[in-house]
């Protein structure tokens, strides 16, 4: 034993020596600052020079991925001197690698970040992405996405310290608003009609449960899906300005408020009353979605990205409505633009990168997305959004809520670790392992340790 101890001691010494010899400086200190490119930005670029761009995105669903490939192909046809290499990863894989990739010397020229402290703030603080105010003015991005407020989550101060106003750092291709998908056949079989108030909504849950139909399909195994259910509830019971202030990390904001606690109570009751599908915490979101698309449930609370999963097999049998409010006033809904596209500060071709982003987020791209059943960020005024389809209902919801300033941000934006804290907390709350008050207090504690 003594002999071994000595060996271990020597080993430790050797390690220390090694560290000293490697002479590592402060980690990350090699990160370059933004090379400020001042002056007006134009929309043109040299079309003679051969340019090769790398672009990263997380559009893995078959429809969206195909649309993305087509848009890139069209862009390359329009500018024959440009070649775009596209890299696609699933959301989890993407988020765990994007910051490392963006810091590399062969960083992707164009890539998606994620709103909030975990990704976008880190990118800005490390000087890895370019401010886009000039490009926004030149291409008209300021006004492309309806209410200018929708761009707020993409604005940060120049040093990345404060969020929600200031410089624009990215623009997005798609819009997201959380609401309720419902199966019209199941609803009429149960003798129900789409609810107009929250009280009616809860009655439909009770009736479905009594009839043995899973009221709300949700895949809790993946953690975040429960978060979206909770956010829809919180948007009803908490003031929109309070939700925004908290998610943006404004001083003095709190999660431990009567409105949010009320939302947590309703959420816990749904869990206790069995309104979520059987064993939901052990079901993956994809499995839950597949079962809803097979007609196994009444409601599915999520956003437009799942529209095609349901509308593909169910067609007009699937409908969508925003969660009805508790009073007569229109209710708020969780929603924002999708993951923003950024331009790397390392790219030698920022003008070409800007033109590519412009193409991906423009009117033509919007029409293509609609054909694939998804909701674009730019409003192309397409006739496809006027009918009675679920996508038309989603588009109407987006327009109403964004114009009226009734969109609230995703809560997991609030701190880098909020996804884990919030979603894990909801898994516990949904099984009655914690009380609503414990839940809101734990979430607030995470927020305070990050924003103190």
């Amino acid at each position: 034993m003594m002999h071994l101890l000595r060996t271990r001691l020597r080993l430790t010494l050797l390690l220390l020596l090694c560290a000293a010899v490697c002479g590592c400086g402060t980690p990350g200190s090699s990160g370059g600052a933004v090379t400020a490119r001042s002056g007006p930005v134009s929309t043109g670029f040299d079309t003679g020079e051969k340019v090769s761009l790398t672009m990263w995105d997380d559009e893995t669903s078959p429809g969206d991925s195909k649309a993305q490939d087509q848009l890139i192909h069209e862009f390359e046809q329009r500018y024959p001197n440009v070649t775009v290499h596209r890299v696609v990863k699933s959301f989890d894989d993407y988020m765990s690698t994007i910051k490392l990739a963006a810091s590399s010397s062969n960083a992707p020229d164009v890539f998606q970040g994620n709103e909030g402290y975990a990704v976008d703030q880190a990118l800005i603080k490390a000087g890895l992405i370019l401010p886009l105010d000039g490009q926004a003015a030149a291409y008209g991005w300021d006004t492309r996405f309806g209410n200018p407020l929708t761009l707020d989550p993409l604005r940060w101060s120049a040093d990345g310290a404060t969020w929600g106003s200031g410089t624009l750092w990215g623009v997005a291709q798609k819009a997201e608003v959380l609401g309720v998908f419902y199966d019209k056949d199941v609803m009429s079989r149960l003798g129900l009609r789409p609810p107009r108030t929250f009280a009616q909504f809860e009655q439909t849950l009770a009736k479905a449960k009594a009839a043995g139909v899973p009221p709300v399909m949700v895949g809790g195994l993946d953690r975040w899906p429960l978060g979206h259910v909770f956010m829809v509830l919180q948007a009803l019971f908490e003031k929109p300005s309070a939700v925004s202030a908290w998610a943006f990390g404004h001083p003095g904001a709190s999660f431990d408020t009567p409105g949010t606690r009320k939302a947590a109570e309703v959420f816990a009751q749904w869990g206790a009353k069995g309104y979520f599908e059987n064993g939901f915490n052990g079901v993956s979101q994809q499995t839950a979605a597949a079962r809803f698309a097979k007609g196994e449930g009444l409601y599915f609370i999520t956003g437009p990205w799942e529209n095609q999963t349901f509308a593909g097999p169910l067609g007009n049998r699937v409908g969508f409505f925003p969660m009805p409010g508790t009073g007569s006033a229109p209710s708020a809904a969780t929603g924002s633009l999708s993951l923003p596209y950024h331009i790397s500060s390392r790219t030698p071709h920022p003008e070409v990168a800007a033109a590519l982003i412009d193409y991906l987020t423009g009117q033509h791209a919007a029409k293509l997305l609609i054909e694939n059943g998804d909701l674009p960020a730019a409003d192309p005024g397409s006739a496809a959004l006027d009918g009675g389809s679920s996508l038309a209902a989603i588009a109407r919801t987006w327009r109403q809520k964004s114009r009226a300033g009734l969109l609230v941000p995703y809560l997991d934006w609030a701190t880098a670790s909020m996804g884990d804290t919030l979603f894990g907390g909801l898994q516990q709350l949904s099984q009655g392992a914690t009380t609503p008050a414990q839940f809101t207090a734990a979430v607030q504690k995470d927020w305070e340790s990050a924003h103190s």
Binding site: M1, L4, R8, L15, L16, C18, A19, C22, C24, T26, P27, G28, S29, G31, M95, S96, T97, K99, L100, A102, S103, A118, A122, L123, K125, A126, L128, G220, L221, D222, R223, N278, G279, F280, N281, G282, V283, S284, T287, R291, A416, S417, G419, D420, F423, G424, G425, Q427, Q428, Q431, A433
Partner: protein, 270 residues
């Protein structure tokens, strides 16, 4: 080569663990602050407790099953033993992503396990195995047992074949029954194999990351959070690279100590 790609990153890791660093911007020197924070962190403590539970499933249970099977098979002259050995070892060779795909489906509330339970009239035992706070950790642990049992069996069977038959005969002359024979002859004869099996499975339990990452991602709540998962989350998701490196260093030392202790306790000295 080894020095370049294992020792250098380890040294780097040790160095990084002394900084507060998000992985992209410049780090701040905090000395041993990350270690202090890790030791005081309730999440880290919970994760290490879960590791202890996983040792039961990854190491203790497979070793017991492996020993029992070996005891049963050591004298029997039934055919097919080698086929069974091959089959039981098979889970060991599969990629974690593959295992994850299989077991997420097996454990699904409407999946094969619940279906089997209701088919044999035990419908009341149906469970949302990975979703229930009380069953998630054992459910994940059993996947580990499924993987490591074959390894234990292979090692023990091989070891048992090397025990001199004379010892068994001597035991029989003394009038030992099968049970006493197992404890008097087989078990002592397997000390070395036991040390190897325990070391390998305990390392597997403490380093368990893949299986959890592909099934529950640490949920529900923090019911299946383990140190490696914290390391991964902090290094890649929440931008606490220094803290991740500190937990990594603590874990490495802990595993090394445990392995040394196991080896010393079980292995007989020449």
């Amino acid at each position: 080569m080894f020095a370049l790609f294992v020792i250098a990153p380890m040294a780097d890791g040790a160095w990084i663990s002394l900084f507060r660093w998000d992985g992209v911007t410049s780090g701040t020197w905090v000395g041993l602050g990350n270690y202090r924070a890790a030791i005081e962190d309730a999440a880290v403590r919970t994760a290490f407790q879960h590791s202890l539970v996983l040792i039961l499933f990854y190491a203790v249970l497979p070793v017991i099953v492996g020993l029992a099977l070996t005891g049963l098979l050591v004298h029997s002259r039934v055919r097919g033993v080698s086929t069974v050995r091959t089959v039981i070892f098979l889970p060991q060779v599969l990629a974690a992503v593959v295992v994850g795909v299989a077991w997420r489906w097996l454990y699904d509330p409407q999946g094969p396990i619940n279906q089997a339970l209701s088919a044999v009239g035990l419908g009341s035992l149906q469970h949302s195995w990975l979703g229930d706070l009380s069953t998630a950790l054992p459910a994940v642990g059993l996947i580990g047992s499924w993987i490591t049992t074959g390894l234990c069996l292979v090692l023990f069977m091989a070891g048992a074949q090397r025990i001199p038959p004379a010892r068994y005969e001597a035991a029989r002359v003394d009038g030992a029954g099968p049970v006493r024979e197992f404890f008097a002859v087989t078990l002592p004869g397997l000390r070395n194999e036991l040390a190897v099996a325990l070391s390998l499975t305990v390392i597997a339990a403490l380093r368990a990351f893949d299986i959890i990452y592909v099934t529950t991602k640490g949920g529900p709540g923090d019911a299946t959070t383990v140190p490696s998962l914290l390391i991964y989350t902090r290094a890649f998701v929440t931008g606490q690279v220094g803290s991740a490196a500190a937990i990594g260093a603590i874990m490495g030392l802990l595993i090394l100590t445990l392995v040394v202790v196991i080896t010393r306790l079980v292995e007989d000295r020449p």
